[in-house]
């Protein structure tokens, strides 16, 4: 999945992760995986908890005007799944 809309949303998801005060540091290997659109990384691996999900939603709404609920984050539990959801695309596509 490499549509411009998807890649743009993936960048926003990464920005929201980088700005999230509730998530700890990532290993270089994980950072490399996060930044590679061909690969994926689950929010669980990144240490997302309920607080991190709320911070994620707040950032997306504040910075990009994207309204998202914590429940929607829970049901799209990875960078690529969330990017696809925000881009209006099927994660399997």
């Amino acid at each position: 999945m490499t549509s411009p809309a998807y890649l743009a949303m993936r960048e926003r998801v990464l920005a929201a992760i980088a700005a999230n005060p509730s998530i700890g540091p990532n290993s270089p290997a994980m950072l490399e995986r996060m930044n590679d659109p061909a690969r994926d990384c689950s929010f669980e691996e990144l240490g997302f908890d309920s607080l991190a999900r709320m911070e994620f939603c707040i950032f997306l709404e504040t910075e990009f005007g994207i309204t998202l609920t914590s429940g929607e984050v829970e049901t799209r539990p990875s960078i690529n799944a969330m990017a696809a959801y925000l881009a209006g695309e099927s994660a399997a596509g």
Partner: protein
């Protein structure tokens, strides 16, 4: 109507709700959460579900609401007390939040598991996310000055004793300020000392925080830790025994300041407080390690990895009255 309920009803977007939820988890008293619960039918379903979840966490072990009220001392410092002017001598608990401005679990949950008839709680946080390297914003610019400011703001002589606790990035602040104020004991939960060898430095840099020479004089820490180690405060560094970074942090505290590292087996993540809470042992943990006899609770060398079964709850608890916990260990 309760002011907090009004604020929630004024929220319009998920982000509005989440901001207020986070603030509530970092600031609220147990009574605030109980009030939200009373008005839950007037709240949006997701907010109601969240407040009921916090309420459920509050009542994991204790049933009577601890009637703490919050007295703001500075923007990032608040005193929680149940004092009514006719109390027996109390202990002051300094509580240093971690990066998320809470004590690994929401503040009202922690307060509810403390004995409000015994403790006043001075809650401090560093929302700049510099883990107190520059003190507490808008209060004092380094931890030495934080200790001095507390001496000015709080009548320490009016307390029976001072104790401290800090979670994660607040662990070293608990040790440092606790020792400076002559605390009887200081506790770190999943904490680690700042220093050039620790991954926290890389995390700050990754997030764009400057660590210029002024803020990265790590020789300061060597001097500071040397001064802490010779003080009388007993330092207890708790960690998840199966979480290597926190195990390393506790070992570093042992080497640097003579702390006693105590690990709980079966915890393979950073949030030790939540693990204790979900096992319905948080009040028991506080009773033992914040108020218990130090000679009895500090395990001997070589026996410092514990099972949660070591936190056996007492068979029966005394009725502590209207400010106390009356029904511990209820399911």
């Amino acid at each position: 109507m309760n002011l907090l309920v009004e604020h929630f009803m004024a929220c319009r977007t998920p982000a509005d709700f989440y901001r207020l939820q986070i603030l509530t988890e970092c600031d609220a008293t147990p009574n605030d959460i109980a009030s939200l619960s009373r008005y839950r039918t007037m709240l949006p379903p997701e907010v109601s579900a969240w407040s009921e979840n916090i309420r459920a966490m509050m009542f994991m072990q204790a049933k009577t609401v601890q009637p703490f009220r919050r007295e703001l001392i500075s923007r990032n410092v608040a005193l929680y007390t149940t004092r009514n002017g006719q109390d027996a001598p109390r202990d002051l608990l300094l509580a240093f939040c971690g990066l998320a401005d809470r004590l690994q679990v929401p503040v009202p949950v922690v307060l509810q598991h403390l004995d409000g008839s015994r403790f006043d709680v001075l809650l401090l946080r560093d929302p700049s996310k510099r883990i107190y390297l520059q003190g507490v914003p808008e209060y004092a610019p380094d931890l030495g000055l934080v200790a001095e400011r507390i001496r000015r703001d709080i009548d320490l002589a009016g307390y029976r004793s001072v104790r401290s606790i800090g979670t994660s990035g607040g662990g070293w602040a608990s040790f440092t300020v606790g020792a400076m104020l002559g605390a009887e004991r200081a506790v770190s939960m999943s904490g680690k000392p700042p220093g050039p060898t620790f991954h926290l430095v890389r995390m700050w840099e990754k997030r764009g925080y400057s660590l210029n020479d002024q803020h990265a004089d790590f020789a300061i820490f060597e001097r500071l830790y040397g001064s802490i180690a010779v003080r009388s405060t007993r330092l207890l560094a708790f960690f998840g025994a199966d979480h290597q970074p926190d195990r390393d942090g506790a070992e570093a505290f042992e080497q640097l300041v003579g702390a006693v590292g105590i690990g709980f087996r079966g915890v393979d993540h950073h949030n030790l407080m939540f693990d204790i809470l979900k096992r319905k042992l948080l009040a028991t943990f506080f009773d033992r390690y914040l108020t218990g006899d130090l000679d009895e609770i500090v395990p001997p060398p070589g026996e410092r990895l514990l099972d949660f079964s070591s936190l056996e709850p007492p068979a029966a608890r005394p009725d502590l009255g209207t400010t106390g916990r009356q029904a511990l260990n209820a399911s």
